[in-house]
Amino acid sequence: MVVAADMRRFVERFAELIEQNADTLTELDAAIGDADHGINMRRGVRAVLERLGDEPTPGAVLKTVATTLISKVGGASGPLYGTAFLRASAAAGSKESLDDADLAALFSAALEGLRQRGGAQAEDKTMIDAFAPAVGAFETALAQGHPRKDALQAARSAAYAGSDATIDLVARKGRASYLGERSRGHRDPGSFSTALLFDAAASTLSGDGP
């Protein structure tokens, strides 16, 4: 079961991965965007760590993350990740602990929020291309009876693979879309931060403690 403390560890791990990869994210954005994705995400997770208090439930933790990202990140990624976390928080409701099905519902609500906010489809070369496969892989693994830990690993791998696959795509949403064909050959920065998100989830939400 995932409790508030697990969710906090997840957020902290995500923040850590963003710190470690901020320059990479910015470099990726420099190639096909405006060179700020790592800076944006880092500003966001730092603010999250500052604001995170003793939220009682996983949903409350996610809510703090959501509102902080919305009011601190800006850019495209702020409202997108903000909306994803907000929907995840709503899906988690006020439950004290989340089981596998809750987690699946939470992921899929987050994905749905991303889609609605950004209007992007698969293969538009956005964070959707990492997020959707990750959510799919998680659900499939659970459906096949794998333990949550393995399902999270599957989600993590699918997210990285999805991010890898953005390299060959031509962007149709976000700043990179202005490049048309010239966006091909570069990884989408948001897909990579999404992979980091599922990476953080895999190492913190397996439900077997820290």
């Binding site: 420099a30 405006d34 944006n40 009011s71 800006g74 850019g75 149709r172 700043r175 202005y178 048309g180």
Partner: protein, 333 residues
């Protein structure tokens, strides 16, 4: 990275403070959430004009706050769209019962953040309209992409919508003028050098000693093509032709023209560029009725220029000539 800067974190706030100190009669600075608003609120139920976007494009938008133009501007971090809290607070501050118009450059981040703010304001019963500026012809348009980037025409939209709002026009009317202006303008830019975002500390892109980027975005986004350094006249040709074509300019059309510097371009060079802009347009039988030459929408320390052409009928020309009193644009006052 060599800049006049204290810390990366305080950069935008300090610039806003400096602006408000230099123009305390016109602009005041609200720190949390960050926005710049007129020092003296206009009287009556005037439609409130709010714009904003990433910082680094000065004087856009803060330099256009004042009578006859914006009521408030929301500066984001450098090249990062502002957050909804800012537009919500600014919108609330300038809403006077007459409604609020958001002028938004067409970038995914800006659009989403302004949308979130509009949702919040509407929930409180405030009439919020949004006009998108999407004038960069460097980007091939297509319905299934994010559309064109918003660049130089933003200055024209802010001026003309600002003028009609100042006359006390209704929200419908201000929205109409803003949309009409947005549709009547096209731009294209080029870079001789990259800009350097302070937080990154190194140039966004690399250009060789003899390379230029045609169609560059105002955040250093790559453009249509990277090509060899050519003469000022040839550069202007490559900007002006797509702009004129896309606008479908014909003999006898009247236009307002802006030859704009990207931030590090000396004015003497902008005038050299403008000379050929004027030659090309006149050569095509187009009449330039008004011109701006200078830094109006910049990209930090990028060296280069952009061209914006607005087809102006008598209504738009009349609004152009209406008094404006802001830090960066002033006449009739």
């Amino acid at each position: 990275m060599k800049k006049l800067i204290n810390t990366i974190e305080s950069f935008v706030d300090e610039a806003c403070e400096g602006l408000a100190l230099a123009h305390s009669d016109l602009v005041q600075f609200h720190r949390e959430p960050r926005y710049l608003a007129r020092a003296t609120a206009p009287k009556g139920r005037k439609v409130g004009l709010v714009s904003g976007g990433g910082s680094g494009h000065e004087p856009l938008h803060g330099g256009f706050v004042g009578s006859g133009m914006l009521d408030a501007a929301c500066p984001g971090e450098v090249f990062t769209s502002p957050v909804p809290d800012q537009m919500e607070a600014a919108g609330r501050a300038v809403s006077n019962g007459g409604g609020v118009l958001f002028i938004v450059k067409n970038y995914t981040g800006d659009v989403m953040n302004f949308d979130l703010a509009a949702e919040l304001l509407r929930a409180d019963g405030i009439d919020v309209r949004t006009v998108l500026v999407a004038d960069d012809v460097a980007v091939q348009n297509s319905t299934w992409t994010a559309g064109r980037r918003g660049v130089g025409n933003t200055v024209f939209v802010e001026k003309l919508a600002g003028a009609v709002a100042e006359r006390g026009a209704s929200a419908d009317e201000v929205e109409r003028v803003a949309k009409k202006t947005s549709e009547a303008g096209r731009s294209m830019g080029m870079a001789l050098t990259s800009c350097t975002v302070p937080a990154k500390g190194s140039p966004t892109f690399e250009l060789g000693e003899l390379e230029i980027e045609i169609g560059v975005g105002i955040h250093g986004e790559p453009g249509r093509e990277r090509t060899a350094l050519v003469s000022a006249d040839e550069i202007v040709d490559r900007l002006a032709r797509p702009v004129m074509e896309d606008l479908g300019l014909k003999r006898g059309d009247q236009v307002i023209v802006m030859t704009n510097g990207m931030g590090s371009t000396p004015l003497i060079e902008l005038y050299v560029a403008h000379r050929h802009v004027a030659q090309l347009l006149s050569g095509s039988g187009v009449t330039i009725v008004r011109s701006l030459v200078g830094n109006y929408i910049t990209s930090l320390d990028m060296d280069g220029c952009s061209l914006t052409v607005l087809r102006a009928d008598d209504e738009l020309l009349g609004l152009w000539d209406a008094p404006v009193h802001t830090p960066a644009l002033r006449w009739g006052a």
